[in-house]
Amino acid sequence: MGSASDALPGLRFRTTLEPGEGWSHGLKRGSRLRITDVDGGANVSAMFFNADLPVERYNMPDTLKGQHTFFLTRGNVLYSDMGRVLVSITEDSCGWHDTVTGHSTPETVRQGFGGDRYQEARNDYHRNGRDSFLQELAKWGLGRRDWMANVNFFSKVVADDGGGLTWVAGHAKPGAQVELRAEMNVLVVLNSTPHPLAAPGPYPASRVSLEVLDAGPLAEDDVCRTSCPQNGRAFANTERYFL
């Protein structure tokens, strides 16, 4: 990725996460968040809230059953528990994002990657999703009671006929991108800690680029609005909320 001075229409700001780093931001309605797996092999665990009233938040079961899918990609939207759209997935070079298997924990990171401590590793210590989410949520007055299922961008987990779950290696390619358009004022809380089912080995050293950009007006034939009748109704609920 280029520097902040690169010309990119509508760019509001850009930042890069070091491996395992946490981040949170109030993403305004009418803006986009572009997430890029710079080096390949990244996982981005993310939670979403209505920034104006955070008791409304991303709801994984509503999102999956409303769109009859087990994974997320372009054309899908993330529903809140109130039947509205928090963000739409407007672009995706990856094809499959997991939202079923949660985030990494101190235990999964210790078992998978060794769990290096700050005392020895300094800022290369092995961060985990649970601690990162709790640290970042606290900055917005939120905590364990607000804890819900997250999305794992760039990660693919498949289910076999018996319900057995398998993490798919090599899914996250260098330069993979996903773009989210905020349909409400959305609090995004995310981190680039490893997927909790990722294969054991060295702690993934993948940087993640985050760019916040302007979003154009929502078209009547927008791919996310029209991909299924359920999404059309969720957009109608969302528009009513801002009347």
């Binding site: 079961p61 059953k65 899918t69 039947g83 607000d146």
Partner: protein
């Protein structure tokens, strides 16, 4: 995971609690560590939407995603450990005559009904209203904020290897039950699902029975 049937020897006559919960109503109850809860699908194909909380710390509650990840399987059955958000077991399923239970499909709400079925479905009774109403009866601070992703006992939500997902007719039948043993003091919050728009209750919500034994 095959649908293995595991019966229980426990005698309903020896239960310390034995109660019927009609469809559209709920049940809030604290289980002591070691106690066993049985939920019976009295008439078949009924979804029992259920949440669990660590009774001594309700911010530590059932986590569907940690439970599925830890057992590397979507479906719950005998032997499944129901983990909390902190990663500790709240309960273990010790018997199951249904074979598998869903924890992916969540609970219905009046708002999600408008999205899934029609904008004019907003008046239909839904599980999350039962949950939030009963939560207010708990003497501690428990509210909508604490309603996380639940278990749907007796419900069938198959997922295909290609990533498709649908709601199917239940695999349950009259009299089938699931039994859970509490690994710590646990608060149980049940909504006996009133959903009329999909096959999760065979379009005819029916009563469930709950029983509690001391061990």
């Amino acid at each position: 995971m095959t649908c293995e049937i595991v019966d229980s020897e426990r005698d309903p006559a020896a239960a310390r609690l034995d109660q019927v919960v009609p469809a559209g109503e709920g049940w809030l109850h604290e289980l002591a560590k070691g106690q066993v809860l049985r939920i019976v699908d009295l008439e078949g194909n009924q979804a029992a939407d259920t949440l669990f909380y660590d009774a001594s710390d309700t911010a530590n509650r059932y986590s569907a995603v940690d439970t599925m990840r830890d057992q590397r399987n979507l479906y719950l059955t005998t032997g499944s450990r129901l983990l909390s958000t902190r990663g500790t077991p709240l309960l273990t399923i010790v018997a199951d005559t249904c074979g598998r239970h869903d924890t992916l499909g969540g609970a219905c709400s009046r708002e999600s009904n408008t999205v899934r079925y029609s904008l004019d479905k907003h008046a239909m009774h839904a599980c999350r209203d039962t949950f939030s109403r009963l939560a207010e009866d708990w003497p501690g601070d428990l509210s909508k904020r604490d309603l996380t992703h639940n278990i749907n006992f007796f419900m069938n939500v198959p997922v295909t290897p290609e990533g498709g997902l649908r709601f199917d007719d239940g695999i349950s039948a009259p009299g089938r039950y699931v039994e859970l043993q509490a690994e710590c003091d646990v608060l149980v919050l049940v909504s006996n699902c009133p959903q009329l728009n999909n096959p999760c209750n065979a379009y005819d919500p029916t009563p469930i029975r709950v029983l509690v034994w001391d061990d």
